[in-house]
Amino acid sequence: MIDVYDCKLLLVDDEPELRRMVIAILKQNGFKKIISAGNCSEARHLFALEKPEVVILDVSLPDGDGFSLMRDFRASSSVPVLFLSARDEDDDRLLGLGLGADDYMTKPFLPRELVLRLHAILNRTYFPAVLSQKLKPVFSLGDIKIDLNSCEVTSQKGNATLTAKEFALLEKLYENQEKIVTGDNLCMAVWGDSLYGYENTLMVHIRRLREKIEPIPSSPKYLTTVRGLGYKLTGVTVL
């Protein structure tokens, strides 16, 4: 196996049209080896014969259900399983994931989403090295350069170091850049508690953070306040 596209996929669904479509989508997206089955017995047979690297399973099948089929597969291998089901009940979703499925998608779905999720599963399972390098981001806000690895902020005013709390705040905001992060979520990320009682503390820390990353801290340009909700980090350039 050189990359994810070399993985052999087993698709189990009782609807021929749907199988045809999924196969077409996957082929179009570069997957080369795709086999499919329309019922449990056929799937068991193919699974034993072909030893696929990933299984896409429907829950309702004419001669059984996907959950028990997955249990059978898992008895002999640790093959990743993605459920593709018409059942959207929370209970089914939780049952599938609880039994150890790697993902659960409900029909109808966007083909792109299926492909992305499949990639994620395969990368996680077979190419974990690719994701193992966990370097913190380095980015700039205008003229100000921020390195989250060393917690250093470099600007014309000179260098500054982020405190642990400021770092946690900035990291959370960076992960959700261009989006509002509610005060509740920030407090949860930094203090592990809800906003209530921390409003002023949060405000103080945001002010200090602004003093380090904003050219004019009193009229913030990058770390803006969304009244009543939270804060938002904008204008990030990844270096």
Binding site: L18, P108, G197, L229
Partner: protein
């Protein structure tokens, strides 16, 4: 139960009163009869007879009216001299002796003379005896101790009181018996009202009544089961349809999406594919909403209730909305009062988020030109008051009319509310399963309006279920929802949700 006690006490008292009244009346009649009737008939007549008996030269002679009297009454008479010998008689029967000793006289004056009831009257030195035919009179000698008669003032009230007590006692016993069987019936009716099966014993005085109640109860339960079965069938049916529709929809959506991304196609064709894809997504949302609405309506949606802080939940929904959905024309503002800041409630987070986002989407949907949406959260004692208001066009007439009906449900409380809820659900179902024609029209209507809209967001929740689901979710959390159009323009939805007491 209270009313049953009242019934019993009234019954006992009236029964006792009737008994005592009867006693008094009888006593009075008896007394009157004793002192009037008797006097006239006997004592007076023998005195009269004595007055009519005169002594003449030829001996004793009974004159006119005295004789008539004896004749009329079929009586006989004799006069005894001081020695006890009969010195005169009138129709003296043969078996009556001619002379008497003192003890004889004492005997018959008190009792009978040879079974003839006789009366005696003093006549000069002798004794006049008038006898009636055998078996026509009772003679009783009454002797009451002086003391008793003197204490009559004491005895009569005591007698009455004792009688009253006895009467009350018996009435109470009988009343208790009746009460016991009535209590069974009353419990049965109570059970029936609460839809529990009722099987009362059908013997006893109230057997027929009990049998009737048993029958009504079993009928009710049959109906309830039938209703539940129908609701169940309906929900299962909707769930089945929403399941079955997903696979074909997945195929359609998959190919449409593929075409949309196909580099070999012209932009126009891609746009068309995009429309198909978005419509598929709308069908998916609609089907999910329908499924959720039907489950909430018939209490078949499992609720995962946990302690939920409401303010952060609302902020996070609002933030998500602004992050992903809201266009430039719309603003969203959240304000939470201080006392609501830390309040919690027992709720299903997913459903509550759904309710809040449905409300926001509703405002956005009805005001494509833009509006300012204001969310306010307050707490009033035991309740959260969540208000979502906008300054847009307000509820459309038809929607507002429908919501107005349901507004009554909050005013009229549970029982009426339930009925209207069903009506509303009926409405929704009509659109789907009965009124096909209307359904098609309705869908086309939406399609005309929305097809050309490229904005995904505006297509969400543009069917009629968004607000219905909000109302159902709030109701599932024991709250109430009020819809109104504001006079300054725009609409407001206020949800009351019971908070957890900390």
């Amino acid at each position: 139960m209270k009313s049953m006690m009242k019934v019993l006490s009234r019954y006992v008292l009236s029964a006792a009163a009737v008994a005592v009244l009867l006693l008094v009346i009888n006593f009075a009649i008896f007394t009157i009869w004793l002192f009037t009737e008797k006097d006239e008939k006997n004592y007076y007549s023998i005195r009269q007879t004595a007055d009519q008996l005169t002594f003449t030269r030829e001996g004793y002679k009974l004159t006119g009216s005295g004789r008539d009297q004896l004749e009329r009454n079929n009586q006989w008479a004799m006069l005894l001299d001081p020695a006890g010998k009969v010195i005169w008689n009138y129709k003296l029967p043969a078996d009556v002796p001619q002379s008497y000793s003192i003890s004889d006289v004492a005997g018959f004056s008190r009792w009978y003379l040879k079974d003839y009831p006789v009366s005696v009257w003093r006549y000069n030195d002798g004794l006049l005896v008038v006898g009636s035919p055998k078996d026509t009179m009772w003679k009783l000698g009454i002797m009451i101790p002086q003391k008793s008669m003197e204490n009559l003032n004491f005895w009569i009230p005591l007698f009455l009181i004792l009688n009253t007590i006895t009467a009350i006692f018996f009435a109470l016993m009988l009343g208790l018996r009746l009460f016991r069987s009535l209590k069974l019936i009353s419990n049965g009716i109570q059970d029936m009202a609460e839809k529990r099966p009722v099987t009362l014993p059908v013997n006893g005085v109230l057997g027929d009544l009990a049998a009737g109640i048993n029958k009504a109860s079993s009928q009710l339960i049959l109906q309830e089961t039938a209703l539940n079965k129908r609701d169940n069938a309906r929900t299962t049916w909707i769930a089945g349809i929403s399941h079955d529709i997903r696979t074909p929809l997945a195929v359609a959506m998959g190919y449409a999406s593929q075409l949309e991304e196909d580099e070999g196609l012209m932009d126009e064709q891609k746009d068309l594919a995009g429309i198909v894809r978005r419509q598929c997504q709308r069908i998916k949302d609609l089907v999910s909403d329908l499924n959720l609405a039907s489950k909430l309506e018939y209490d078949m949606q499992p609720l995962r209730k946990e302690q939920t802080p409401l303010a952060p939940l609302i902020r996070s929904v609002a933030a998500d909305m602004i992050n992903d959905h809201i266009s430039e024309q719309h603003t969203l503002e959240v304000s939470v009062s201080d006392n609501a800041q830390n309040g919690q409630l027992l709720g299903d987070k997913q459903l509550l988020k759904r309710a809040v986002s449905n409300l926001i989407l509703n405002s956005i949907k009805h005001n494509p030109e833009g509006c300012d949406i204001k969310i306010e959260l307050n707490k009033d004692g035991e309740n959260f008051i969540l208000s979502v208001a906008d300054n847009g066009t307000g509820f459309p007439k038809e929607v507002f009319e429908r919501l107005n009906e349901t507004k009554m449900d909050a005013d009229h409380k549970e029982d009426v509310g339930r009925k209207e809820d069903v009506d509303l659900m009926e409405n929704v179902n009509h659109k789907k399963d009965v009124n096909h024609k209307k359904d098609v029209d309705h869908m086309e209507d939406i399609d005309h309006k929305k097809c050309a809209e490229p904005n995904d967001l505006k297509e969400q929740s543009s069917h009629g279920l968004g607000l219905t689901i909000v109302r159902q979710i709030i109701k599932a959390h024991n709250g109430s929802t009020h819809f109104s159009n504001l006079s300054r323009g725009g609409c407001q939805v206020i949800c009351y949700l019971p908070a957890l007491t900390s």
